[in-house]
Symmetry: C2
Subunit: 175 residues, 2 copies
Amino acid sequence: MALEQGCVQVYTGNGKGKTTAALGLALRAVGRGLKVCVFQFIKGGGRYGEHLAAEKLAPLLTIIQTGRPGWVNTKDITDDRRTAQEALVQALELLTSGEFDLFICDEINGAVGFGLIDVEQVLDMISRKPEKTELVLTGRNAHERVIEAADLVTEMREIKHYYKAGIAARTGIEM
Amino acid sequence: MALEQGCVQVYTGNGKGKTTAALGLALRAVGRGLKVCVFQFIKGGGRYGEHLAAEKLAPLLTIIQTGRPGWVNTKDITDDRRTAQEALVQALELLTSGEFDLFICDEINGAVGFGLIDVEQVLDMISRKPEKTELVLTGRNAHERVIEAADLVTEMREIKHYYKAGIAARTGIEM
């Protein structure tokens, strides 16, 4: 099957659940036989639970990780920007191929926030989305022009987080 | 593997992404070999994409639907309350069996909001959670006592929703 109409969804905010919601969308879509690509920006740091699960849902679910290991070097973004720009070219190729019913650009809002990708490039991506492809953009601090261009926007607000109680990221839950 | 420590997470608010985030948690956990139960309250209405996908991730992922077909009869909750109370007994049995590493009570907050389950019953459930089981509670209008008892709370806020632009729920995305 294919979607009759593809929309643009944004998950932003400082709360837990943005990438996780995108993964949930992927799971539901795969259940319906849709083809899904989760394209991750600034996430080069190792394989998480979702990458292991993706193998069980292949060939419908593909997860592509890009970014350098470790976090963005905010003091000098040169290398991170080059990596993100190369990733963007790859993402655009995959998106515009029309091969995927659901295309998730995970952490692309963060990449814009760090100056690794320009907001105009995200708007260009949105404008080039195939009509029947659902495009999902995640990450904190989504740019107001991206919010304007989107059909659905949810802000995940942190009301309470256990990091503050000293609980670190746990394998199987956060990664 | 098993979690070293299980927490209580709440996803609430009027925005899209609560159940979806819980499904994403399930996907990640399954990738790590954790055993997951998604127990759905007031959701008796047919099989969605997540139910079809669950078959591909069995036996690690189990999704149980409870509730009557159609939406809650808010004019007379007698039947819905009986159904929800029976479901709660089943959920408690499964949760306290310790068989699951991640136990998701989907829409339980909504069930409390409709008066189908009492908030004291949810607090009792939280108190009886096995130490190493992660318990996730979703649904709008989470009760303040549930928020108080939780370790992590995220509010999904609707900034923009395409329902308002006349786009109905789509197979593969919302269901």
